[in-house]
């Protein structure tokens, strides 16, 4: 009976071309150090980290260079052994200048990573949460939410199921795919820490069926007595969104404005889980991450271990790009942000770098038409909103009405509506503008 209502997945959604073939079978390789690394102090929600190094100071790879400022903040670690050249402003992905530490790697050093105080598997939940914060862990899927801040169940509540998100529904990206194939033991170690921290009785690793090798590989190595199951889900975007994934795996729906904990679930990205398993036993912090570098404009597509703070121009020069490069975005093409310039550095949340040429340019192809009420966006929206109506209201700047009567705040900007819109209305952009206007109105 439940099968009729699409159990095993969520309802609505879209099927963009996957475009993962170019990189899915390429093992993770290492990208060299850039001559100058730019480590932003704000790679997470919450306040920027506070630097604990001075200009001119020598640091060792893996050494903490900034400490968290408050609960929603995390630590930063030196991505390379080198000299702190400056602490100043650097361009961020949103186009704003952000505080950052400029680090010049030493070419001759061994680049070994220092070890800190290890966190044992039998540590208390509070100790694990603290260790994760000190390891600088944020969601590696892209949202940048500090992982430690969501692990403890709310007062009076409980978490029964830990969901590890190996869906990777964004087209082009194969980061999580490769991590599942190459860092299986780290994932299981990370899982043990997360189960202990959350008090969850079991864990489910959700994998889309376009990664059968990853699911099989995880199943083969499944440790005994670890309450983990691997569930294969049909391919659909945006299945990696936590509300969609919880519905697909558990059949529970997080209420509007609610957190996964309200249905006793918690989602952690699979690469984040692997990172926790890799770092905590050695007391280390994040100094690099796996990034899929791909897209029609990239010559040597692949999955790379990229030091945090590597500027885009160095990264693209290293892999080689076509001359008619016209767009670069960080993250996948559905939710990623377009880079305003190539000085922007790779951060902890950058799961992919996708570069398009002028041939894939949208501005030349796209003419915006009025909304014809075709209803495609309603059938695409995983949150069951009416993007068509929201778009019309946004065009008239009726922002309050959008929030009060049409659940604007339930929109998590997956882009499914704008993807299907035959009139090419920039719906998501309109919703972002509306949300920003509402935040501004509330603040003043």
């Amino acid at each position: 009976m439940l099968k009729w209502f699409g159990a095993g997945s969520f309802r609505h959604g879209v099927h963009p071309p996957e475009a993962k073939d170019a990189t899915r079978d390429l093992p993770i390789r290492r990208l060299p150090f850039a001559p100058l690394l730019v480590v932003p102090l704000s790679q997470h929600l919450g306040r920027p980290s506070i630097p604990v190094v001075r200009e001119g100071q020598q640091v060792v790879r893996g050494e903490p260079i900034a400490r968290p400022d408050g609960f929603l903040s995390v630590a930063m670690h030196a991505p390379a052994s080198g000299v702190v050249k400056a602490i100043g402003l650097a361009p961020g992905i949103a186009g704003r200048m952000l505080p950052a530490i400029y680090l010049k790697p030493l070419p001759g050093s061994t680049q070994e990573v220092v070890e800190g105080t290890p966190c044992p598997l039998d540590a208390t939940p509070e100790q694990i949460v603290h260790a994760i914060q000190e390891a600088g862990v944020v969601g590696l899927g892209g949202a940048g939410f500090p992982t430690h801040a969501k692990l403890r169940p709310p007062e009076g509540g409980f978490i029964d199921t830990l969901i590890v998100n190996g869906v990777e529904c964004e087209p082009y990206l194969t980061t999580d795919h490769r991590v599942m194939l190459e860092q299986r033991e780290d994932i299981f170690t990370g899982l043990r820490f997360l189960l202990a921290a959350t008090g969850a009785a079991r864990a489910i690793i959700g994998v889309e069926e376009n990664k059968p090798d990853a699911a099989a590989h995880l199943r083969e190595g499944l440790p005994e007595k670890l309450p983990v199951s691997i569930e294969v889900l049909p391919v659909k975007y945006p299945q990696g969104a936590e509300k969609m994934l919880i519905e697909a795996l558990l059949g529970r729906r997080v209420p509007p404005g609610g957190l996964p904990a309200s249905v006793h679930a918690l989602c952690v990205n699979v690469a984040t889980t692997a990172e926790i398993g890799r770092l905590l036993p050695h007391g280390r912090g994040i100094q690099e991450r796996v990034v899929t570098i791909t897209g029609p404009a990239v010559r040597h597509k692949g999955n790379y271990h990229v030091p945090i703070g590597t500027p885009l121009h160095f990264l693209l020069e290293t892999v080689g790009v076509e001359d008619d490069l016209s767009r670069v975005f960080l993250g996948g093409p559905m939710m990623g942000s377009a880079a305003p310039c190539l000085d922007v550095p790779i951060t902890k949340g950058t799961s992919g770098v996708v570069a398009f040429t002028e041939r894939e340019s949208l501005t030349t192809q796209v003419v915006e038409h009025p909304c014809i009420r075709c209803g495609y966006c309603l059938d695409a929206c995983p949150m069951f909103l009416d993007p068509s109506q929201l778009g019309l209201l946004a065009a008239n700047e009726r922002h309050q009405e959008m929030a009060d009567r049409h659940h604007l705040m339930s929109c998590f900007e997956c882009g499914a509506c704008a993807y299907v819109c035959p009139s090419h209305i920039p719906l998501v952009q309109r919703f972002r503008v509306a949300k920003a206007a509402l935040r501004k109105a509330k603040a003043s």
Binding site: P16, R252, M383, L385
Partner: protein
């Protein structure tokens, strides 16, 4: 070399598009109308061709003029006005004087569409606005029918076709009654096979129900038409007329006749489904279809006219925005919230 000064194109996400385009949807609707159009020309000959060409030309020219008048770029390219022109032409009697066809087209596009702000802003189907205007302005010419398959239909024209504007020659040489009029006023029923294939008198496009259904199936298969609207209409019309026919067989036609006669097929499949004038939710579309079906039966059974599809759709167009206000998709997780509380 990748220099930091390279100029990048900045757009906000999503950076991919599905390839759906307004133009493609409109083109497919025109394509779906072609069999019906070709059959209409075959049935009625040269006069039908001239009516269609005149209808198309008047609609296209009016749209272009309206764009020029309001300083907007030409919207002919989106293809919506081509559908309006074609549909409008298909709703007309084959021998209608061409000057009337032109006047209706101008009124329909100017008053029914451009005045409201063009594509997407028109509450009513412009083709039906045009027809409604003609029905009110020239009731006699709009209810004078010619039988199909007339002799020499490709070689000669009825006098009415080329009649000069406002002349009295219009009524000469007309004959034939539509099956609906024959049923309503004369108590005769046409054979269902004739109705389905179009071998009866009527407007250009309301003759062959089967070809219309074929076009509709094509659009449904391509996700360019909401099937719930025609299904809603057909269900209510068939159900209500079956009931009426059962109670009083002598005064009410059977369901098969009701479905395939008059403009019901063309209206249900191609006019009621106009995306702009119909609701956006699935349940809304069913309700909207049911409303049209109910209005059609009421007008046909107890109204003063033999046919009511046009007014039924126009009235439902007016209700459609309200349906969208009443029936809204329930936001994700809302049920769970109420259940928990």
């Amino acid at each position: 070399m990748v220099g930091p000064t390279r100029i990048l194109e900045i757009r906000t996400s999503p950076h991919l598009l599905s390839g759906h385009r307004v133009e493609t949807i409109m083109f497919n609707v025109v394509l779906a109308l072609l069999p019906t159009t070709a059959w209409a020309i075959w049935c009625f000959g040269l006069k039908a061709l001239l009516v269609l060409v005149t209808a198309l030309a008047s609609c296209l020219l009016t749209e272009r003029a309206a764009c020029a008048f309001s300083d907007r770029p030409s919207s002919l390219g989106d293809g919506s006005v081509a559908i309006t022109g074609l549909l409008y032409g298909l709703t007309l009697p084959p021998g209608l004087p061409l000057w009337m066809v032109a006047v209706g087209g101008v009124i329909g596009v100017a008053m029914g569409k451009a005045l409201f702000g063009g594509l997407g802003a028109n509450p009513f189907n412009p083709a039906l606005v045009a027809r409604a205007f003609l029905q009110a302005a020239f009731p006699v010419a709009m209810t004078s029918w010619l039988p199909p398959f007339g002799p020499d239909r490709f070689g000669s024209l009825p006098a009415s076709t080329l009649a000069p504007p406002f002349s009295r020659a219009v009524v000469d040489g007309w004959s034939g009654a539509t099956p609906l009029a024959a049923s309503k006023f004369g108590g005769e029923l046409s054979a269902l096979a004739d109705l389905a294939t179009g071998a009866v008198a009527g407007s250009l496009g309301e003759t062959s129900g089967l070809l219309i259904l074929l076009g509709g199936a094509w659009l449904v298969a391509r996700h360019m038409m909401n099937w719930r609207i025609p299904v809603g209409i057909f269900t209510v019309v068939a159900g209500a007329s079956a009931l009426l026919h059962f109670v009083a067989p002598e005064s009410h036609a059977p369901p098969g006749f009701m479905l395939f006669s008059g403009g019901l097929m063309l209206g249900a499949v191609f006019m009621a489904t106009d995306m702009v004038g119909s609701p956006v939710t699935g349940a809304g579309c069913l309700l909207y279809g049911a409303l049209i079906g109910a209005l059609v039966v009421v007008i046909r059974a107890w109204g003063g006219m033999p046919e009511g599809v046009m007014y039924a759709i126009l009235l439902a167009n007016a209700v459609s925005p309200h349906i969208d206000r009443w029936i809204r998709p329930r936001v994700f997780g809302q049920v769970a919230a109420e259940g928990d509380g």
